[in-house]
C-alpha cells in the first residue's frame, strides 16, 4: 500500500497564485502551488538523546524511515495525523516545535505492536511511542494522559499488593479522571451482567471488592520494586535535565498507612 503523507505539508505553508502567467504560460491557481520556504531556528539538539534515555526508545537511532510502522499502524488507520515514522524523524532531527504540534495525540498508541512486527530495523516503535508520551509529560508539554493515569493506578495496586482487583481499579480511575460511573452504556453493561448471575457469585465478587486480593509474602517484593522504580525515575529525570522529585515514594507512604 502506498503511503500518502502529502498531508504533512501544512496548509499555511502552501502558496498559490490566483493569477500568474510565467513566460506566456498560464499557471494560475493549482498550477502555481509552491511550498513556502521555512527557517527553523529552534532545534533541540538533545531531543533524540533525551527520548532514547526513556525505556522503550533505546533503539530509535536504528530507524531508516521506511514507513512500515505507519503503514501497519492501527491508530493511523483511524487518524492519518498519527504517524510514528514522522515523529521518529522529527525526534532524530531535533525538530521539537514540529513534534509539539502533535503532542495531544501521541499517547493514543494502543500498543498493538503491529509496528514492531513490521519494523525491519528492530526499532520497537511501540516503545518509542510510550517513551515519547512520557517525555512530553515529564517536560510539562502535556498534562498526564488518561492512559498514564490508568497505568499509574494499575501499577500502584500491583506493587502494593501483587494483584489487581478490577472493580477497585476502575472506580479509582474514573475518580481521578473526573468521570462519572453513571454513564448509560456502563449501566446497561452492568444490567446485562447481572441478568443471569447467581447470588452466590455476586456475593463472591462483592467480597473481592472488600477483601482486596493480595499475594502472600509480598512485602519483600514490594520493597525491592519500590527501591528500583525510585532509582530509575531519578535517573530518567536527570537524563532529561529535570530536578529530583520523590513523588512515588510519597504516594507509596500514603498507601501503606491506608492499608
Amino acid at each position: 500500500m502506498p503511503i500518502h503523507e502529502k498531508s504533512l505539508i501544512r496548509p499555511e505553508d502552501l502558496k498559490t497564485h490566483e493569477q500568474l502567467v510565467v513566460e506566456g504560460v498560464d499557471v494560475s491557481g493549482h498550477w502555481s502551488t509552491f511550498i513556502q520556504t521555512r527557517v527553523i531556528a529552534d532545534y533541540n539538539e538533545a531531543l533524540e538523546e533525551e527520548v532514547a534515555a526513556l525505556p522503550g526508545a533505546e533503539h530509535i537511532h536504528r530507524c531508516w524511515q521506511c514507513g512500515s510502522c505507519t503503514n501497519a499502524c492501527t491508530v493511523n488507520a483511524l487518524n492519518p495525523d498519527f504517524n510514528p515514522r514522522f515523529w521518529i524523524y522529527l525526534v532524530r532531527l531535533g525538530m521539537q516545535s514540529e513534534l509539539l504540534r502533535d503532542k495531544d495525540i501521541i499517547w493514543q498508541c494502543v500498543s498493538c505492536n503491529k509496528c514492531t512486527y513490521a519494523c525491519p530495523r528492530d526499532v520497537n516503535p511501540e516503545g518509542v511511542m510510550k517513551a515519547l508520551s512520557h517525555w512530553l509529560e515529564l517536560k510539562g508539554h502535556t498534562p498526564k494522559s488518561p492512559s498514564m493515569i490508568f497505568d499509574e493506578e494499575f501499577s500502584e495496586q500491583v506493587i502494593r499488593r501483587g494483584r489487581i482487583e478490577e472493580g477497585r481499579l476502575i472506580q479509582r480511575f474514573f475518580k481521578r479522571t473526573g468521570q462519572t460511573l453513571n454513564q448509560e452504556w456502563l449501566v446497561e453493561m452492568v444490567r446485562r451482567l447481572l441478568r443471569h448471575l447467581p447470588l452466590a457469585l455476586l456475593a463472591r465478587l462483592g467480597l473481592a471488592r472488600l477483601l482486596a486480593p493480595r499475594s502472600r509474602g509480598w512485602a519483600a517484593a514490594r520493597a525491592a520494586i519500590q527501591d528500583y522504580v525510585g532509582a530509575q525515575q531519578a535517573r530518567q529525570r536527570r537524563a532529561l535535565g529535570l530536578g529530583e522529585r520523590l513523588e512515588t515514594g510519597a504516594a507509596d507512604a500514603a498507601d501503606t498507612t491506608q492499608h
Binding site: P55, P146, E165, W185
Partner: protein
C-alpha cells in the same frame, strides 16, 4: 505435534492471572471444566502475582519482567513444574516476553536477579519452564483427532469467527516456536483456535480481522478509539457470516462485549454477533452444561442462540 508434548502437557502449572479472577471468571471456569472433561491436570501456581498486564511496562519494563519472572520462578523452583499454561493473552505474552528478555538481555537478567534476592526467592533463569497458551495446551495434549473422538454434542456447524487479538502473536520474536513449519502456529494467520473449534463441529468463517487490535490498552482511557476498533471487528465478523466470535483472551473478550454495548448505546450502531470464549464452545461440544461453563456470566447473551441451535 510430537508425542513428548502430548505427555508433557497433560499436567501443567496453571497461571490464571488477575482478569480470570474478575471479569474473566467465566474463562477461568470453562478452562478448568474443559481440562477436567479432557482428563488434563491443572495445578495452580501457588501464591502467584500479577504479570504487569499492559500497564506496568509503561512505568518500567524491567519491573514487568520481574513480575512475570516471579510467577515462572514459583512454578519451576517451588513447584518443580516445567510447563506454565496461561489462558490470558496478556499473561501469556508477558511471560514469553520475560523469557525472551532474560535469555537475550543481560541487563534484564541482572535486575531480575537483584530483585529476586531482595524479595527472598530464587531468581528465574531462562529455559527453566516453557510457557504455553490454553490453545497450545489442548492442541498438543489432546489434538484435533482426540477432540473429535471425545465430542458428544458437536457444534452443528455454528458459524464462528475466531478472534486472536494482538498479544498472542506480536511481536514475533518472543514466540520462537511459532512460524516454525508444518503443525506450528502462525503469527501472520493464527489457526489453533480454528483447528480446535472445527474439530468440535463449528464452521469457521473466512474472517480477515483475526489479529486486529480491539484497543484493549485504552478501553477505558480512550473509549471512543476502542469502540471504533471493536465495531470494525464486530462488523467484519457479521459480514463474514459469523453468528459467534470466539475469543481466547479475557481483555479482548470483555472489550468486545463492552464496546458492542457502547457502540449501540452511544453511537447507535447495533450488532448481533455473540461473543463466547473458545473454552465455552469446546465445553458445550464435550457435553458440559451452559451453567458449568459460565455462559450465563457473559455480558453478551448467547443462551437463546445456543438453545435454538440445540447446543445447550
Amino acid at each position: 505435534m510430537s508425542d513428548d508434548k502430548t505427555d508433557k502437557y497433560r499436567r501443567v502449572a496453571y497461571y490464571p492471572g488477575c482478569a480470570l479472577e474478575g471479569t474473566g471468571h467465566a474463562y477461568n471456569r470453562s478452562t478448568r471444566q474443559v481440562g477436567k472433561a479432557l482428563g488434563l491436570d491443572l495445578v495452580e501456581v501457588s501464591d502467584w502475582n500479577c504479570c504487569g498486564a499492559m500497564e506496568v511496562k509503561n512505568i518500567d519494563p524491567k519491573i514487568q519482567t520481574y513480575l512475570s519472572s516471579r510467577v515462572m520462578s514459583i512454578a519451576a523452583n517451588r513447584m518443580g513444574m516445567d510447563v506454565v499454561m496461561a489462558p490470558c493473552n496478556g499473561c501469556y505474552h508477558n511471560l514469553k516476553k520475560a523469557e525472551y528478555d532474560l535469555a537475550h538481555d543481560p541487563a534484564s537478567a541482572e535486575v531480575v536477579g537483584r530483585l529476586s534476592a531482595k524479595a527472598g526467592h530464587d531468581a528465574y533463569r531462562a529455559g527453566q519452564v516453557e510457557t504455553i497458551h490454553a490453545l497450545d495446551w489442548i492442541k498438543a495434549a489432546i489434538g484435533e483427532e482426540g477432540l473429535r473422538q471425545r465430542v458428544r454434542n458437536g457444534l452443528k456447524g455454528l458459524r464462528v469467527a475466531n478472534y486472536y487479538g494482538c498479544m498472542y502473536t506480536r511481536p514475533r520474536h518472543i514466540f520462537p516456536e511459532k512460524d516454525a513449519g508444518p503443525g506450528s502456529e502462525s503469527t501472520f494467520e493464527p489457526h489453533f483456535m480454528d483447528d480446535l473449534l472445527a474439530a468440535a463441529g463449528a464452521l469457521n468463517v473466512e474472517f480477515p480481522l483475526k489479529t486486529a487490535c480491539c484497543g484493549g490498552a485504552h478501553t477505558l482511557s480512550d473509549s471512543d478509539t476502542s469502540t471504533k476498533l471493536v465495531l470494525n471487528i464486530l462488523r467484519a465478523a457479521e459480514t463474514a457470516g459469523a453468528e459467534v466470535i470466539a475469543t481466547e483472551c479475557p481483555t479482548c473478550h470483555s472489550g468486545l462485549e463492552m464496546h458492542q454495548i457502547r457502540a449501540d448505546r452511544k453511537f447507535g450502531h447495533k450488532t448481533q454477533v455473540k461473543i463466547i470464549y473458545f473454552t465455552q464452545l469446546l465445553g458445550l461440544a464435550l457435553g458440559l452444561t451452559a451453567r458449568q461453563l459460565g455462559l450465563h456470566e457473559n455480558v453478551s447473551d448467547s443462551l437463546e442462540l445456543l438453545a435454538a441451535k440445540g447446543l445447550t
